[in-house]
């Protein structure tokens, strides 16, 4: 007995070591230093810093940063919703309609685009959507447009790009959770007189809720943290919070402000996720277990 306990202790130590190394060495310490310490300082002179809340005050006082954050969050939420709407039927098809090899092929097809880098995928969108691009020419050729149409540099373009980049991360958890839905539940509901819409609302969605939540969280976070897509597709009015952070860190050399923004992003996005989970009555633990 004591043998077994000693053995478990030993194992626990052995397994805890890499986890702690990773968490402490790569997650906690670097971010505590960067996000917390730096963001609570302000520059007082060349190379001199003192404790201060200025960085946070700037965020509160300057409507620009607020707006950027709200805009980023809103577009991310929109993109998440849109991704869910697009991915759900596809995931349904993969999980419930396709059988055998077709199912595997479709899943692999979903994965394939992610072998090329995000930049190249964005390049593809640029070629497609620019004023002299493929879609514009096509529209003209079809007589649907009389002159070149600029499809880039709108918020809608950002949405398209974000949705595109996020689909995989929504499809996979959805397929997983839909697959575990017993067909006979749907048959039973149908047998009891349920219509398609009602079955989706009462049976399918409640069942898939943890999967939906998991996919939505991941996608939301990915959108929020995305940098390339909004900057490349967004055009002159695009404001993105990660871009702000990047700018503060890289072009303004204002690490204190960047760190404050980074911390705020982390904090506010966690808050949003928490609120979303609360609203839909999900638990984070359960969601992450799907």
């Amino acid at each position: 007995m004591s043998d077994a306990t000693a053995y478990r202790r030993w194992m626990l130590g052995l397994l805890l070591a890499p986890a702690l190394l990773w968490l402490v060495g790569l997650v906690i310490l670097p971010h505590v230093e960067l996000l917390l310490l730096l963001s609570l300082q302000a520059r007082v002179g060349p190379g001199e810093y003192a404790a201060s809340l200025d960085q946070y005050r700037t965020f509160v006082d300057e409507p620009l940063y607020w707006n950027t954050f709200v805009r980023t969050a809103v577009i991310s939420v929109l993109a998440t919703g849109l991704t869910l709407l697009l991915a759900f039927p596809a995931a349904w098809y993969i999980a419930k309609v396709a059988r055998g090899r077709l199912k595997m092929v479709l899943l692999v097809l979903c994965l394939l685009p992610f072998w090329v880098s995000e930049m190249v995928r964005t390049l593809g969108w640029l070629i497609l959507l620019r004023e002299t691009g493929v879609v514009s020419s096509l529209l003209q050729a079809l007589g649907l447009a009389s002159q070149p149409v600029e499809l880039l540099y709108h918020d809608a373009t950002i949405l398209v790009g974000l949705v595109y980049a996020s689909l995989l991360f929504m499809v996979i958890p959805l397929v997983n959770s839909l697959e575990s839905l017993d067909d006979s539940l749907i048959e039973a509901a149908y047998d009891l007189g349920g219509s398609t819409a009602n079955i989706v609302r009462r049976i399918v969605i409640p069942h898939a809720a943890p999967g939906i939540a998991a996919g939505s969280i991941v996608v939301f976070m990915l959108c929020l943290g995305n940098y390339l897509t909004p900057t490349l597709l967004g055009g002159k009015n695009s404001l993105w919070f990660t871009e702000q952070i990047y700018t503060q860190f890289i072009t303004r050399f204002n690490w204190n402000q960047g760190a404050a923004f980074g911390f705020l992003l982390l904090f506010l996005s966690s808050l949003l996720v928490w609120a979303g989970l609360k609203l839909t009555g999900q638990r984070f633990g359960a969601v992450m277990k799907t």
Binding site: E187, A189, D191, L192, N198, I203
Partner: protein, 372 residues
Amino acid sequence: MPTPAAGSPATAPDLDIRSVRKRYGAFAAVDDLSFQVRRGSFFSILGPSGCGKTTLLRMVAGFIAPDDGDIVIKGASMRGVAPNRRPVNMVFQHLALFPMMSVGENIAYGLERRGVKGASAKAKVIDMLQRVGLPGSEGKRIDQLSGGQKQRVAIARSLVLEPALLLLDEPLGALDLKLREHMKVELKQLQAEVGTTFVYITHDQSEALVMSDQVAVMNHGRFEQLGTPQQLYYQPQTAFVAGFVGNNNRFEGTIESRNGEQVLLRTASGLGLWSQRVGAVDVGQTAVLFIRPEAIEIGRSPRELPAGEPAWSASVQSVLFDGGNSTVLVLEDKSQTPLHIALPLTGRLADLKSGETVHFGYQPSQAWCFPA
């Protein structure tokens, strides 16, 4: 409870299956079946796994369209009628209760789909739960119920819609033994109370026998025999039915002689057994013979057996003691043929030991011989 369909006489069958057929590729899952189910009766379809029971039931429910033939429920053809518009409800093998809803919501689900909401739906749910013996459980979650309770909720969920027909696909399959025994009796009583026509499928002969008014024995997509439990048990019409319904000793051999409707079968090991012939069995043909363990009389001396019957001596191989269902496995002395014999309910021979010599006999009228 069933709402009579307009214009159909009270004696019309609730379910009328007319030459229904379903093929999967070249394989006929249901092969040109026709039968009728009387209003208010408990009708079972009994058959081994894969014989096509579920396929048949799902055609009635509307989840599978028959290749051929017609299904008539309460006088109305179901051709082209979607499952959610048929006056039938189904209890699924694994119940398919909605885990995301409470017991009450599960039962109210079908009502709400019909537009019955609020207080009247609630009253029906409470009444239904009362009837299946679960008063006051409408607020419980599904996973708080035991297996037997789930069973009853699943049935209540269907019954509350007052269907013309209730279809049940092996609903007791997932329960454990004691509970199954109990639910068997309970289901029969429930059916008698509500008066709804039940169509029940199972591969467990005991379930079919205990509960049903009529049982159809199915094999390879066809019915082998349709009748009351007693008819199936005491007058099997095919070798399959004789072997599948109840326990049986089975012997293969050749017909040696015939005397009216009785024939003598000689097994390869040399044992000669007289029996009732069923179907065209005659001298020289190979045949199979069945004798039920409880149709064989057994005693320590030949005098304990009824006079006038043929008798054999045998040695006890092993006693399978199971209280009231105890049997003994014996080897007939001359031919060394093994036989199962039921021990008397009184416990008279419960003390038999391996190796002891016993004597046994049976009435040829209680054994049947079928063409091989």
